[in-house]
Symmetry: C2
């Protein structure tokens, strides 16, 4: 009956004898021909795997076929119209979408804190997209409720919480950090959930200036106010200075405010720094503050016997955010928020007890209806892909990846030290390698304000050139009073030592005339 | 080098001559064999399409192969171990995951406000899962930034906002409603972002008692307090009573509180009711209140020339939440939050201006770096699958689906009225059909308290029986002082008129002895 689509899976044809006319529509059998649909999906998949997996892994292919927004808009013909398009046209759209996208799985994509393509996780994702479950109750998502539970249990083991804990997957580390602020606040003043903040004392939380910007977003969103995030100084390596934290806590108290939480970071976004958790935990204990650890990026190190010392003290945290979609390559999104509490705090803090969804008179154990711990209603089964990948490669396989990524960063840092015109900001402890490139024209200059102003303009130009060439993607940023520098991130086992050499050669090549 | 995995894609072999030893690891070429990986993914996909698409569409297959939590845990062998598993074992895990999952694409899954499987949207999802982009900047997600913009523009057109607007996709309608509360609050008192609520007057928002529970969750999470959600009475059909709204607004003002927002619902969760938007908008204008419309479920009707009258007045809303993953079958999640404001309110309200991500010195038009409008950092490209599906079926195709779903609901309602032992709660306006089943043993009883107490126990037992049999899934719930009733939702074009007859026959069959 759908006459609008040039080529649909509609089984319209003549009206069958058993059809019923309702409200102007003939109703009988299904209008979707599932076999034709399956054939089309299969065809599209062949294309997606070819363009999106095989070609993406090929260093000779571009990381991105770059076009500026207004131009790309025209090329993609984005407008949505009355009538549908043919399958050939839709397949061409898929091909174009891949072609003009950034290949985050390309071995020379080093731009974010995630990269690469794990085939097992990918299979997990394709499975859940096909099944299309929502994770609020056991009734509608039995497998995904249980795999989430199993993954959280194992992650909690790696946090060293011997008594166990509780947790939930969330759509992003920023949301996990919001959970932390809300749970810490509820723990401190449970009345706020009902009464709100308007009659409450001013609540203050503490974090280092190197923390992720989501802490400020959380304070704004949750009604705490961004000014009530007290920023603690960091040392040269980007680690929070415990004595400065204590000063800020005392300052807040002297002002008559109510301190309630410290956010420590394990693996800062830019420098990859790890805050000293044991000393921070001591201060939290002394002042009865909730300790949240944002280990979204650094949490992966917990799987490495060689590097887990970076998070020493995390066993004392009250809550932790950890994103396996970053270092562990589980695919976006895969973000766990965990609390050491075992009294149902997470549930009490967020529950609304909707009677249409969380019925009390169900026939099974409703403690498996975990959705009311969440601020979401529909929720994707983000733990499953990680569970499947972990099953496939084992803890040893994950550990090996982390060790290799950190070793790769170490290799790059050593090469930078050897090369003229490259300068390391600091020795990496983890997988962030931060460095400046100094073009030949500036190498003899005295390192004064003018020098750094010029250096500041180098990285943006090199970035523009690499994007337009499509050869690789590396991020850059200013940082405090430091001029723009590159931040190179290594994660994927598809990245080779030769790619590290390529990065330095390519930067030199793209920037030597500056 | 990964010796832990029984069967991995690792190209370990002998150490190559150009390898470098760093930190105990030999580094040379990639350790992932992408061709072997692609082959594995292809193999898994064949299985997923067969089990997850073809079989799922077959009414002779079970909607769910049900097992209680503790039993299923044992069957799935969930523990994560040191060593990896063989590919054969991983494929078996995929098969099991599908087998024991609820098939939300099955023609007899009527349990939630989403269902069915659209092949075009599925292809869009498989594509983005493969590409694995994150949607914060144009630089890393050019195609997905532009498709999100195109979809929002078109959806805003259907809202009737002639001057346009702004928007963002979010991970769920609940999060969209949180956005609404935060933007409305910021609009009313922009200082709250920085200063927080502690020194502010008590803010109050209004919603009907039929609204989604996420409004209460938002009030708790955002520090407003659940008690400051003033609940407005609804009429027998579940629609907000405008006069009652005005009473509550006056009450809040008399108490010295500050009213700032009304949440109206277009398509309530249980009854499928549409609040009278024009009259509510009049009251909002009179009292200068932000009008948010939660059209997560009902928004789909905007695409139908026959049914869009249900949302008459939505053109006057200040913000709207609308989930195309529900009636329009775009796949979880696909949730738009839109504001009529065009001055950058959404950006100002949520931005944190992270300098490592939203650099000001980029070489392209950074107004396309839309991520700072969001409370998330990493964000999935949820608009793309909807865009691709819309391209494939056209506006006409989407309209036809909505019309057919509503006609199917109408058919079911008429059948219910004809059958002994079935009783409709009310005539459906949309796709929610709410009804009681009265077993033969109760049909002669006077309809007193005892009668309704008995009726209350009927639906849970029938639900248990249908789950264990796997024949279909229909939700039930109590509602106010109404005893448990069934709520049947029709969405998918794979559902046939015969499936409607089946639902009634099956309920009778499962419940006739009660």
């Amino acid at each position: 009956m759908n006459t609008a689509t040039s080529e649909s899976f509609c089984q319209s044809g003549p009206v069958k004898s058993n059809a019923v006319l309702v409200d102007g529509m003939y109703l009988n059998g299904p209008t979707l021909d599932i076999r034709a649909a399956e054939k089309f999906v299969q065809e599209a998949l062949t294309l997606i795997l070819d363009e999106g997996v095989r070609k993406t892994a090929d260093v000779r292919e571009k990381v991105c076929d770059w076009h500026p927004p207004e131009e790309l808009k025209q090329m993609l013909d984005l407008d949505l119209k009355e009538n549908g398009e043919t399958h050939a046209k839709i397949l061409q759209r898929c091909r174009d979408a891949i072609r003009y996208s950034v290949k985050t799985g390309h071995p020379r994509f080093f731009n974010q804190l995630y990269a690469g393509l794990d085939p097992y996780s990918l299979v997990g994702r394709l499975l859940t997209e096909t099944i299309n479950p929502s994770l609020y109750t056991y009734e509608v998502a039995p497998v995904f409720v249980l795999t989430e539970e199993a993954v959280l249990k194992k992650m909690i083991e790696f946090l060293g919480w011997e008594e166990g804990g509780d947790g939930i997957f969330s759509p992003g580390g920023s949301v996990s950090n919001m959970y932390a602020v809300n749970v810490a606040r509820y723990h401190c003043c449970p009345d706020i959930k009902e009464q709100g903040l308007s009659a409450m004392p001013r609540l203050v939380l503490f974090t280092s200036k190197e923390c992720h910007y989501s802490v400020a977003k959380a304070a704004g969103f949750l009604g705490i106010g961004t000014k009530n995030v007290y920023v603690v100084s960091s040392d040269q390596r980007g680690k929070m200075i415990p004595a400065e934290l204590e000063k800020q806590v005392l300052r807040a108290k002297a002002e008559g405010a109510q301190p309630f939480m410290v956010n420590a970071t394990s693996g800062t976004t830019v420098l990859g720094a790890f805050d000293p958790l044991e000393e921070i935990a001591d201060i939290c204990e002394r002042h009865k503050l909730w300790l949240h650890v944002d280990a979204c990026w650094g949490g992966g190190a917990l799987l490495s016997r060689k590097h887990r010392h970076l998070l020493q003290g995390i066993q004392r945290a009250n809550s932790v955010a950890w994103n396996p979609h970053k270092m562990l390559m589980a695919g976006l999104q895969c973000c766990a928020f965990m609390v050491r509490d075992k009294t149902g705090l997470l549930q009490r803090c967020h529950s609304a007890r909707a009677s249409y969804l969380f019925q009390r008179d169900k026939f099974y154990d409703i403690s498996y209806d975990t959705g009311d711990k969440s601020i979401q209603c529909s929720r994707k089964p983000d733990a499953f892909k990680f569970w499947l990948m972990w099953k496939a490669v084992g803890t040893h396989g994950l550990e090996e990846r982390v060790n290799r990524a950190v070793a790769m960063a170490r290799y790059l840092a050593e090469e930078i030290k050897k090369r003229e015109g490259f300068r390391l900001l600091m020795e990496p402890e983890y997988a962030n390698v931060c460095f400046w490139y100094i073009p030949p024209s500036l190498r003899k200059m005295p390192e004064n304000r003018e020098f750094w102003d010029k250096i500041h303009k180098v990285a943006p130009v090199i970035k523009e050139r690499m994007m337009k060439k499509g050869s690789m993607m590396v991020g850059y940023q200013p940082h405090g009073d430091r001029a723009n520098f590159f931040r190179q991130i290594v994660i994927s086992p598809q990245v080779s030592r030769e790619d590290m050499d390529f990065v330095l050669n390519e930067i030199e090549e793209l920037g030597k005339d500056l």
